[in-house]
């Protein structure tokens, strides 16, 4: 099985950390992983995106034109990248920051998750990326929650390990929001 | 009978390509004597430069790397870092060291690389036929300064021994000349000191040797020697400009 997911938002939303986290989780499950980051020309507050591909065998192209799942965290990313989602694919949208009214994405399942709001409710808006990862995990069924939990130890620097329980809770909340 | 004069072991028994009256041969000999007297020939790696000094490997009976033009201090840096137990020296002319190689010499000196640099300043590009060098004296006519070096356009000659002495990485910097027996004896003392500093791992040591180039100066060897005294030494005063052992 080969999975691909595209994450996009603005710098500061933890898009790259989310991609790293999913990568470590996939490695934890014995998969081969390819994580391809891309940045806007602006180094602060500009666009941030990454593609993660994981598979039992060859990961193939690190670049994906039409992702099976896209997780879009701000309006700019949604406007630019929602149309690229593959037919039959899923577009997970941070509805706290994204207005989707009037946008038709035929053949694509749009999943609205108020990620900022959920993160705020969990105590810190900076955990928006963890909420996003939880939503992806639940919707795609590609990775187990235990793998993501284990991945936090690798993706976060040692000094932030005390935040792991809070991050796990944020991921669970993201997953719950998708289950509805 | 007591032997009082012989060829240094570090030099090969061959004729050099140097022109009559050229001081390169004298500098070669003094460096070779220093290697012999410290007994370090078998530990020494020479780095040749581009110019009249390019045939270093043909005259010195030691292992030699031939560096690209101006890059000898960088090559020596690599060799010394790879083999810190070896004695590494470069031998460079004025165009090589003070024009195209200015960046390499300044930075290796500033890093305090444990190498010795022998800089032969004859105020001209010898090998290519006497063009203007970074050390060509004000007013000096060369094949590319036919009206004489114009300081307002060409800048003033670089005083390398003084310039390098300002860098913290430099342990020893001195200027010597070879135009009289007294100066040769002093030059030998200075060159030995420079190598001793490397043996003692004191840091970067630098010798600037004022040398004659009778062919490109259009002079006979005696007049060329005289020019070293009359024109070069007043502009490039002899002496020790840096000696960390005396700080």
């Amino acid at each position: 099985m080969r999975y691909d997911v595209f994450f996009a938002g603005y710098g500061g939303q933890g898009v790259l950390l989310a991609g790293n986290l999913l990568s470590y989780a996939a490695i934890h499950e014995g998969k081969n992983v390819s994580f391809f980051p891309a940045y806007g020309v602006e180094k602060r507050g500009g666009a941030a995106m990454c593609t993660v591909v994981f598979a039992d065998g060859d990961t193939g192209s690190p670049v994906v034109g039409n992702p099976s799942v896209s997780v879009l965290l701000n309006q700019l990313s949604f406007d630019k990248y929602s149309v690229k989602v593959k037919q039959g694919g899923v577009c997970i949208v941070n509805s706290s920051l994204v207005e989707t009214d009037g946008v038709e994405l035929p053949g694509v399942e749009v999943v609205l998750v108020p990620m900022n709001q959920i993160a705020l409710d969990m105590g810190d808006v900076r955990m928006v990326n963890m909420v996003a990862c939880g939503a992806y995990m639940e919707k795609s069924g590609a990775l187990k929650s235990a793998s993501l939990e284990a991945a936090l130890k690798k993706a976060l620097p040692e000094r932030n390990h005390k935040l792991i329980p809070a991050n796990v809770k944020a991921m669970e909340a993201g997953a719950r929001a998708v289950r509805g | 009978m007591k032997q009082v004069f012989t060829r240094p072991e570090s030099l090969k028994n061959v004729a050099t390509h140097f022109c009559p009256g050229c001081h390169h041969g004298s500098v070669h000999r003094l460096v070779a004597e220093a290697l012999d007297e410290f007994g370090i020939r078998s530990q020494t790696i020479g780095v040749a430069s581009v110019g009249c000094s390019v045939f270093l490997y043909g005259y010195f009976d030691i292992d030699v790397i031939e560096a690209p033009h101006g890059r000898a201090p960088a090559v020596a840096t690599g060799a010394k870092r790879a083999r810190p137990d070896r004695i590494v020296f470069t031998y460079q002319g004025d165009g090589d060291l003070a024009a195209i190689g200015m960046s390499e010499i300044i930075h290796s000196a500033n890093r305090g690389e444990d190498i010795t640099v022998i800089f032969v300043n004859n105020t001209t590009y010898g090998m290519t036929g006497g063009q203007m060098a970074p050390t060509t004296l004000p007013g000096q006519k060369t094949s590319t300064s036919p009206y004489g070096r114009d300081v307002s356009k060409d800048g003033a000659p670089f005083k390398m021994a003084e310039l390098l002495s300002n860098l913290d990485g430099v342990a020893f910097s001195a200027r010597v000349a070879l135009n009289s027996p007294r100066n040769v004896l002093n030059a030998k003392k200075m060159i030995k000191t420079a190598f001793r500093y490397q043996v003692e791992k004191k840091g970067f040591s630098f010798i600037e040797a004022l040398a004659s180039c009778p062919t490109n100066w259009g002079m006979n060897p005696l007049d060329a020697n005289q020019r070293v005294s009359d024109e070069m030494i007043p502009y490039f005063p002899l002496g020790v400009y840096k000696n960390t052992a005396q700080l």
């Binding site: 994580f35 060859d58 | 030691i62 090559v75 060799a79 790879a82 390499e104 930075h107």
Partner: protein, 365 residues
């Protein structure tokens, strides 16, 4: 030596290069900062000194390549790395190293050019790398990794080939492979029989021959003899060291060819074409010099259509055309390097569809 399988790690391509260099016994690194390869000097400045190695941030790329020359002449495994503008500066030293028959590893994480260009992925330094790059007529070994695992493996291979054939070896990658992270098995250094370095400058002792590392050949016939000797060595490389990856070529009506990360993208496009029932294969040169000419020649005995894809306006295509049979066609699809020019598999699949044609059965022998 480590015998158990190493555990997988998750690292950037650039970091994999640095880790492999240490594993390969590289003791000296000399470099100068330039995007997108600065992870390499950063990693080695942290990791080399503690392992008895030397790291120097040189005054320039020129300084760095000449330090490499010196360290290599003294018999040490050494490396430098850079990108386009810096690699141009290193060409002087590379030419001298080639002329002096010195090994040494140079990593080029290509960026867009000419001039200052941009920091995006590019493959436009193919000519510079495979044609020698500097003056005088020479070649160097050029290896093109397409994954982070290959960044690791080919860096180690570069050290071995460079030592065996006594010439500089270049790892030619682009910023996609340099910047992306993948799961990698950090394999232990392979046990390779290496020739003794009898030529190194080491300090000449009594009875030992004088060793001189030089590129000056003034004697009658000396320079010419050097060139013929090197020509024979290049042939030996071509005979023994060509490496490539082939996929689904045996029945292919069209063979896509690409190197580096472009080949990764193309491979997925080839899989899309196969799913659509098209007989398409992939030929990815891993050694760009020596170029796997014989493989192209034999593939073109049967398959008469190639599609060369590059992140440039076309450079490797020269070598493909020189290698395939005269009656084979080589189509081209290129994206000049720069922001937004990285092709997607879907885009390359469109190009495959556009060029694909099945030859009538009778025309095949």
């Amino acid at each position: 030596m480590q015998t158990t399988a190493a555990e997988k790690i998750f690292v950037k391509g650039n970091e994999a290069v640095a880790m492999a260099a240490i594993e390969a016994g590289c003791r000296c690194y000399f470099g100068y900062p330039i995007t997108p390869q600065s992870d390499i000097p950063e990693y080695l400045s942290r990791e080399l000194p503690g392992r008895g190695g030397e790291f120097i941030q040189a005054e320039s790329e020129i300084g760095a390549i000449n330090m490499l020359l010196g360290a290599s002449a003294a018999g040490t495994r050494a490396m430098t790395s850079s990108s386009g503008p810096g690699i141009s500066l290193k060409q002087e030293g590379i030419s001298y190293m080639a002329g002096s028959e010195l090994p040494g590893v140079i990593v080029d994480i290509m960026r867009a050019g000419p001039g200052l260009g941009g920091i995006d992925a590019s493959q436009a330094d193919y000519w510079q790398a495979t044609r020698g790059g500097g003056h005088g007529g020479y070649r160097i070994i050029v290896l093109a990794p397409a994954s982070v695992q290959e960044m690791y493996d080919l860096t180690m291979l570069a050290f071995d080939l460079s030592d065996i054939y006594r010439m500089p070896a270049m790892v030619l990658a682009d910023s996609v492979v340099g910047q992306m992270k993948e799961s990698v098995t950090p394999n232990p250094r392979p046990q390779v029989a290496l020739p003794a370095k009898e030529w190194v400058v080491r300090g000449r002792s009594e009875g030992e021959p004088q060793n001189v590392v030089k590129s000056l050949y003034l004697g009658d016939g000396e320079m010419e003899a050097f060139h013929w000797k090197m020509q024979a060595r290049y042939q030996e490389l071509a005979d023994n060291e060509c490496r490539w990856e082939e996929a689904q070529t045996s029945d292919a009506e069209l063979i896509v060819t690409a190197f580096g990360s472009t080949a990764r993208i193309a491979k997925t496009a080839v899989a899309m074409a196969r799913e659509a029932g098209m007989k398409v294969g992939l030929m990815r040169p891993i050694t760009l010099f020596p170029f796997p000419r014989k493989t192209f020649a034999s593939l073109s005995e049967r398959c008469k259509l190639f599609l060369d894809i590059e992140l440039s306006t076309g450079q490797m295509i020269d070598d493909v055309r020189l290698s395939v049979a005269r009656d084979a066609d080589v189509a081209f699809y290129g994206r000049p390097p720069g922001a937004g020019s990285l092709p997607t598999p879907e885009e390359l699949f469109e190009q495959i569809k556009k060029n694909y044609r099945v030859r009538p059965e009778q025309s095949r022998i």
